[in-house]
Amino acid sequence: MSTAAEVFTGMPELGPNRKLALPKVVERTLPNGLTGIAIRRSAVPLVELRLRVPLGTTRRSEPFVARTTLLSQTLFSGTSKMSTMDIAAELQAVGGALNAGTDPDRLLISGNALGSGLDRILEILAEVLTDAAYPTTEVDTERDRLVDRIQIAQTQPAHLARVALLRRVYGTHPYAVQTPTPRQVRAVTPRSLRTLHAERLHPTGATLVIVGDVAPARALDAAEAALSGWNGGGKQAQLPATPPLRPGPLTLVDRPDAIQSSLRIALPAVERTHPDHAALQLANLVFGGYFSSRWVENIREDKGYTYGPHSYVEHSIAGSTLVATAEVATEVTAPALLETIYELGRMATRPPQEAELEQARQYALGTLQLGMATQSGLAGLASTYAGFGLRLDYLADHAVRLAAVTRDDIAEVAARYLAPAGSVTVVLGDAARVEPSLAALMPVERSVLPVDES
């Protein structure tokens, strides 16, 4: 495809590229083993907090997923001194809020407040970490709410497609199940939450990131003062490495009467520190990782099969995977998959145009700057990278590597990681309508999701 850039000459040139400016980061290991990371960004008089606590397990366990999920919903449900209401009201009083969420790698507590409320939000965080009570009544309430939310999720195609893909990709690995069923949630007791908290919520290996309108040293002093009493032994668990992808028949999950099919394709990928990472990031962009990619221009802007196709590299502690997702009209399910295979095959067998590479490179470099331009963006990046043993200065090196990637590098990694022969494909949709045409493209195997009744 020719780009307009080749025919239209009036486009203003870009100003000189500025070198990636990294913010100053101050880090301190607190006496209890907690790693504190503080960054100043004063554009608005607020602070952002991210506390990341490792939560991996050595083997797949649905009851563990049920416990961690419910723990994240009841962590702020009271301590020996404060009720749910007290905690919420006291946080609100300093313009603050705290929330917790889990994935198979970690518990993440996120919050923000007025800058003047930093000390108070840290005190409340400390109180919850050292004294969360998991009161029976509150746990009952949150358990029912969680069950209802899971039931709703189980009717959402995006959720169901992800559940099916995770099972297919990860098999017996802990990553295979990331949402509990209602029955598993109902089995969780307040006592088991208190046990889980005692065993797993401790400062060793945890990272607290504070970003905002506050001097970093002062932020870390406040964290040290508030959290010095958070301690305890407990366990750490080592996640096993993820299994290699096992290409094979397309997994078809029936969703009767669905008017769209959810297409999910998993491909191998590498961690951020791998020598192939920068080239693979750019190869993914050229394929389907942003709007101006081959896949989006093909199945959306040319064919009109779909609204928001997208591919991305999902990094987890135990391994990385490239995932391509699209919701396509039922009647074009097989044609959309055909175009997808075609675009992957084209990536894997022919180097990209120089213009395609440059465009992807500029996008990758530019969005690095955009991602660091807010308090919450900085806090999220610093926290995520810390979870992988990296710091923000990684981005400076990464920018250098992005700048050095060549067309040949793209061709090489695309052949290695984007080849359709190495892919795992899952389709959720109206099986009776889509199976015959899908089966014309590749072998199809039906699969049923374990959705328990309430």
């Binding site: 850039a5 008089p45 607020l46 009201a89 800058g115 009717t155 928001g308 530019g366 955009l370």
Partner: protein
Amino acid sequence: MPRTPPAPRIPATKYPVERFTLGNGLRVVLAPDRSAPVIGVAVVYDVGIRSEPEGRTGFAHLFEHLMFQGSQNLEKLAHFRYVQGSGGTFNGSTHLDYTDYFETMPANALERALFLEADRMRGPRLTEENLRNQVDVVKEEIRVNVLNRPYGGFPWLKLPPVMFDTFANAHDGYGSFVDLESATVAEAAEFFRDYYAAGNAVLAVAGDLDVNTATALVERHFATVPKRSAPVRPGFAEPPMQAERRAAYTDRLAPLPAVAAAWRVPDPIEDFAAYLPHVVLAEVLTDGDASRLVQRLVLRDRTVTSIGGYLGFMGEPFAVRDPTALVLQANLPPGGDVDKVLRTIDEEAERIATDGLTPGELARTQARMATHTLRDTDAVLGRALHLAVIEQQRGDASLVNDLPRLLGEVTEAEVVAAAGMLRPGRRAAVEVIAGGAR
């Protein structure tokens, strides 16, 4: 009970705001902030879902898609490639009262972003092929967001037809497939001619810019956009409801019941002082576990599993015009009783109206609202959009700096009076019947 700290001082931002108008009527807002090397560029046109002609539901949104399909200078796909190939991101969105187009870019791409917006302000390239392609894309968007998922379009598409009587306020802004499929290129050209004049738009740029340089660049690229007459915006006012209104529909995919209720509020623009207390009231009722309705309905009665409240059907208190509403929406547990939930909401509103607020309740709510408001402006794009819409609807973008303070000045008496307006006779409600219950 832990100590009750004194109410915190509500802080403010001090973004410098430069405003000027070009000869063709384009209003421009520049807000320099050198804290990160990025810029947000927003162009907001004063046309939205309410302005769609009858028989053309969804047209404003479909037309928004067409504004990305090329121009006299640029081929289809070029806009996306130029923005992303400069290290930026883009999008557009269609609202009840406005349509926005925007980019976030590294600061060195400022002139390119301005060129791209000025270029399509001169006119999109409207072709039959692109129109048909984007009708297909929009239909897939509606399938993803409305038809193929539970609670699709709830409540923003489901509540207005219960509350309002006129086509402008009541119709489905995503559009029917019949209307979308019958849209023509000629209609798109008319829509552009009628609503996309420079004088009907505001350009805002926030972030790492020098005001003098940026002013010169804005003039270079936009001053030559031809002047056309800007439309006179019609009023969409409707008389208040005379009695309670209720509706219900079955969602074949929804596993659990849900309900949304709305009450008309004062004109957000013309009667701003009377409107603001309703914005605060929505948060008193629903912001977090310490709020009135979460305490009562979620944590005590357990008659709902979640509840939220906001102003305007799209949840944008400062980007909507009259007529609009305070909206509450709740998800219910299996077999939940919608009537009971509505009665309890009435009871809690009445309780505030009669007994007032508890000590500290207003101050803590206002502190949290200040955080929300400030946080939304930390990103250059959020700031640019906010500036542009406020300039368009309220005539002075610098109000952005005052919002946290103005919200903080709302008094208890005003919130109590607003709560007194949430009466059943003024309420429109819509219930989702769980057609997918197992």
